[in-house]
Symmetry: C2
Subunit: 473 residues, 2 copies
């Protein structure tokens, strides 16, 4: 606090009205030359800007999201896009109409992840109910740390978790919505470690034997990140061999566990995967659970959460509050501020019901089966593996390679096909589909259908378009 | 993939029109009895729902956010609120009008964190520009992993980071926007650890000496969470004593470092705080930096980020893409999917300019000074400490305690005052302000002014209202 502050209180020059008679009213207060009366925000201008922007979002995003004739993306390389967008932040602010034009440009050059033909990652199209929930969330701007500041959203999260636990078939359980799968994997690892040795929370890993976790070679890459972040080390993630379908082989798991024990290390966790990232494979959970039981290993999360993370921050989680503080779940998470992610799921669930959710899953699987049959029928398309779920991995073999023997030259050439077709589809903006190499297999496309806005026509288009873009190769 | 699938292709009964002549058109495709033609979502109904919900959000949240006559909260205890809200998810979905009523209830019973008199946590009121950016984000639903799917938002993040690095005065730098301070502290800790021993990424902490980090006793509680999560252990967070203003004492830091070394442990990180959570104290960075330099200790983040987190997930971060893959920053973060958090800040910066941001800071500090002077003037209010920044910690001493000697009975009784006033303000809905005990000091209120919508009148109201609610105690 500056000692030489210029603190003064006086009436504004020339301002004479009745209200001046009321003490404290209309008295301009200045501190260090700054007028402190009233809010400084121009609420009317702000409100109008929000209204105009909402109209723009409605027209340019929501209404266009189901139109397959719109482009999926408006590709521009980074240097070009920098020239097209006015990104520079200046000393003075921009007027509302300039900002609205900027918003329009942001929308224009952004990838339309809601588009029925955006298949690049696991997106489910535009869900109107989830979108409304997220608009409400952003407008209310809650942070789910305590019941006091987030009463509705904590109850919503509780209701969703309760229902999910019911569906799993558990009698009891607890949980928390996380920002994503990577963070969830970290939680799982931390919980397993805490179960092995609760003292880790205070003592850390110092002086402990080498801890080993087991996961399939097909697991999500976040397992390695988690092991690195949590101080376990990526070399202490033992990858268990998978079968031809990408499923963990239980006998191999058992062998790896014995190997770790012989090395003098301590197995503490098995991370099984139900639906691997690339192939969509399901590890055989029953057989894995039996092995975990025999070795006394952790297979999944439970309600140790709270004891494990609690840091008892007295400034946030006062125990002398006037309500049931068990609703203050903020101390369960590694974050402090946290969005109510359960709310969007809850809104969709309320809107379409359990049966509606079920229909979506069934239809996605039926569409996957349709696509698989089409891939089998069509010349130049080849499945990497017969899928057991919604992940469909396939190569497109252009005419020039169709008669070639499947030797090193063939694979080297095929490896270049998917990147080229991807480049062409993005520049055209007709479609977005992911590709990757995987465990010795050259670049292939991966399609995962999950959106209720996707139809059989889109599946046909997908194959037609790949063929159209690649047939000259 | 089920072997006994019922795969059929036929024309819908009774449907005869010209389009049937075009092969593949209007041909109903069923797989396992599920019709695959066209999207299943009712887009019109969905669009109308979004429109109606936007109107509701505008009226009930945006337009009311600046009105101090609106209640800050509509308090209901958990069991009561559960009865008021229809939280149950059922087999069938609910119709749009029921959903809209639900949305209205959600808004009604949620705390209005935008309200000019919500001071419970560090909120800055409703920022119209940030809100629009967040609406756009939710509508476009991007995830900032690669340039390919998030071109605009990656460039925006780069522009904001560049500008921030410029303001700090660095010639170069790199960074990433994180979901919050807790996660950022974890990154800092992980980077420091990586600097001390890059092999930790692969080998983990096994076999390493005990690692020690130093932070002030006033630090954010997330430091302990981070130490626990990263396998360092909370006992290996050495808290350095602070002076009367809550600042780390450099000489004490030096002593603690020597102590750790004598114990055979390895100091690796000093976490200084610029603006502590409760008191708003600034650690003396220059003196701390000198000590860190002498001991070879890490004081803050740098651009080791990428090497440190990279897991090189080939399915996401293909190196054979047709554009500059240095824009695919997803591998820098511990998350995979990630929201473009820089975008909302960018939009506000664009809208009000650097000068507008500066004005906000200056006005918040001036309002803080005003409040401090008022606290000093008024009977029954007592500053905990002369603030140096925007955090103002104070007690309200009700009339019955004003003549009492400041002994154990006084403090025991004063400890109960803030919780009671807090309960009353929440039940009335007039104001929300946080309180906490802190390092031997009994419960006190903490006010941090940051919102441009807050005025001198709100500061007066804050003190008037506390006095009104507490004067009978």
């Amino acid at each position: 606090m500056s000692k030489d502050q210029n603190y003064s209180e006086y009436s504004e020059e020339g301002e004479i009205d009745q209200e001046e008679m009321v003490p404290g009213k209309k008295t301009a207060v200045l501190v260090d030359g700054i007028l402190l009366n009233g809010p400084t925000t121009d609420a009317k201008a702000g409100e109008n800007f929000v209204k105009e922007a909402c109209r723009l979002i409605m027209e340019e995003v929501v209404l266009k999201s189901t139109n397959v004739n719109e482009k999926v993306c408006e590709w521009q390389p980074p240097e070009q896009l920098k020239k097209l967008l006015d990104l520079e932040m200046r000393a003075a602010g921009e007027p509302p109409h300039t900002l609205l034009e900027l918003c329009q440009d942001v929308i224009r050059y952004s990838v339309k992840t809601n588009h029925p033909r955006f298949f690049n990652q696991l997106y489910a199209g535009l869900d109107y109910y989830s979108l409304v929930a997220r608009f409400i969330t952003e407008a209310l701007n809650p942070s789910v740390y305590t019941y006091e500041v987030s009463p509705v959203f904590l109850l919503v999260e509780e209701a969703v978790l309760k229902k999910m636990i019911e569906f799993i078939g558990w009698k009891e359980g607890d949980g928390i919505f996380n920002p994503g799968g990577s963070v969830s994997n970290m939680y799982a690892m931390n919980l397993a470690r805490y179960k092995y040795c609760p003292g880790i929370k205070e003592k850390g890993l110092f002086g402990l034997p080498r801890l080993i976790l087991f996961t399939s070679a097909e697991c999500h890459y976040s397992m390695k990140k988690a092991a690195s972040f949590l101080g376990i080390g990526t070399e202490n993630v033992y990858f268990v061999e998978t079968d031809g379908r990408g499923k963990m082989i239980p006998e191999e798991l058992d062998k790896r566990i014995w190997q770790a024990k012989q090395e003098g290390a301590v197995p503490f966790l098995v991370c099984a995967t139900s639906g691997t990232t690339v192939l969509g494979a399901f590890d055989p959970l029953d057989a894995i659970a039996d092995i975990c039981e025999r070795h006394g290993l952790w297979l999944h999360v439970d309600d140790l959460l709270k004891r494990c993370y609690s840091a008892n921050a007295s400034y946030l989680f006062q125990q002398d509050k006037f309500y049931d503080v068990s609703y203050d779940t903020g101390d369960k998470s590694i974050q402090c501020s946290r969005r109510p992610d359960a709310f969007k799921f809850w809104m969709t669930w309320k809107a379409i019901g359990t049966l509606g959710l079920e229909d979506r899953v069934n239809r996605a699987l039926a569409l996957s089966r349709y696509l698989v049959e089409e891939i089998k029928k069509r010349e130049g398309f080849k499945l990497l593996i017969e899928p057991e779920y919604a992940n469909i991995c396939f190569w497109y073999i252009p005419p020039s390679l169709r008669t070639m023997e499947e030797g090193p030259e063939f694979w080297a050439k095929l490896h270049l096909v998917a990147p080229t077709i991807k480049e062409r589809m993005m520049k055209k903006g007709s479609l977005m589909l992911g590709y990757q190499p995987h465990r010795g297999k050259v670049n292939f496309f991966r399609q995962v259908v999950i959106s209720p806005q996707v139809s059989r026509e889109d599946m046909d288009f997908l194959l037609d378009e790949i063929d159209l873009l690649g047939r000259d190769m």
